[in-house]
């Protein structure tokens, strides 16, 4: 089985986006909750790479806060992104199973 193309952070972002479209700041907050703190520019750089790879789709939404219009970057996972995430998921599941099995055989 080939090595997955996604880093663990990208995998986490795609997993978060499986819940549906979300604002960038919410995704960043969820990453922080998972113990993966990233600065704004670093986070959006990662998102830009995911967009370039076709795994996510990003756009700006308008919002009015305190009487001022602001833009908010929102993201949704694409079909390619879901497939890439699934591939990584299968990869780890496959290896965990093998590891578990060899561990059992080793102790037997």
């Amino acid at each position: 089985m080939p090595l997955p193309d996604l880093t663990h952070l990208q995998f986490l972002v795609l997993s978060i986006l499986l819940d549906g479209e979300q604002a960038g700041r919410d995704v960043r907050q969820k990453l922080e909750d998972e113990g993966e703190s990233k600065s704004g520019p670093a986070f959006y750089q990662m998102m830009a790479r995911l967009e370039e790879a076709g795994s996510v789709e990003g756009w700006y939404d308008e919002k009015v806060i305190d009487g001022q219009r602001i833009k908010e970057r929102r993201y949704r996972i694409t079909g390619a992104g879901e497939a890439a995430r699934q591939e990584v998921w299968e990869f780890y599941r496959h290896h965990f199973r093998r590891k578990k099995l060899s561990g059992k055989l080793g102790t037997a």
């Binding site: 996604l6 960038g24 520019p41 830009a48 806060i65 305190d66 001022q68 602001i70 908010e72």
Partner: protein, 191 residues
């Protein structure tokens, strides 16, 4: 209890025309004020909505203070354009702004266009959202000054973060260019 949606335009009307902090009003109160403010906005409500407001107001009549504010709003609305959406746009455009966000944006011109669009712009908008939400919670002069200073420093730090990210990207690309093909492909996925 029935839930009533209040549009952004309506919130702007209530906030700007009555000078009431949003967190002091429930959506029902905001809508009731708007409804009481006269026929100007009633035209925006469906008959079902009007019936709902009537029911709410019969059960929980507005206080004298709210009624006075509603009358004030009615006078203000009449002085605006007849199209509420356009008036809301104008009010939003005229909303008190301390000019700082425009100043902060100037920092971004230190960056390349790609970094500005991909890194700075979304991060800046998130920060601006934080700033506006925080500003609404503090009303004193010194708190506002402190917030301005803190968010200016955050903007500078963000521009530095964008520069760093852009430099790392360039450095990474330069290193990858020097490597042989298969090794480059393998390494690229971990950067």
């Amino acid at each position: 209890m029935q839930t009533i949606e209040v549009s952004d335009a309506e919130w702007i009307f209530v906030r700007e025309c009555l000078d009431i902090p949003i967190h002091e009003l429930s959506p029902v109160e905001a809508r009731a004020i708007l409804w009481h403010s006269g026929e100007f906005l009633i035209s925006q409500c469906s008959p079902a909505e009007i019936e709902t407001f009537r029911g709410i107001l019969e059960k929980e009549p507005l206080s004298n203070e709210m009624l006075a504010r509603a009358r004030g709003l009615n006078l203000t609305l009449r002085s605006h354009a007849t199209d509420p959406e356009k008036a809301a746009d104008r009010i939003a455009a005229e909303a008190p702004s301390d000019g700082l966000p425009r100043f902060w944006r100037l920092f971004s011109y230190l960056l390349s266009r790609k970094s500005r669009e991909e890194l700075f712009e979304p991060a800046y908008n998130d920060m601006l959202q934080d700033y506006l939400e925080t500003r609404g919670q503090y009303r004193t002069k010194w708190a506002k000054r402190w917030l301005k200073l803190v968010f200016t420093l955050k903007t500078v730090s963000m521009v530095c973060g964008c520069m760093r990210a852009a430099l790392v990207e360039k450095g990474k690309n330069a290193i990858l260019c020097l490597l042989p093909g298969p090794f480059r492909q393998w390494l690229a996925r971990w950067f």
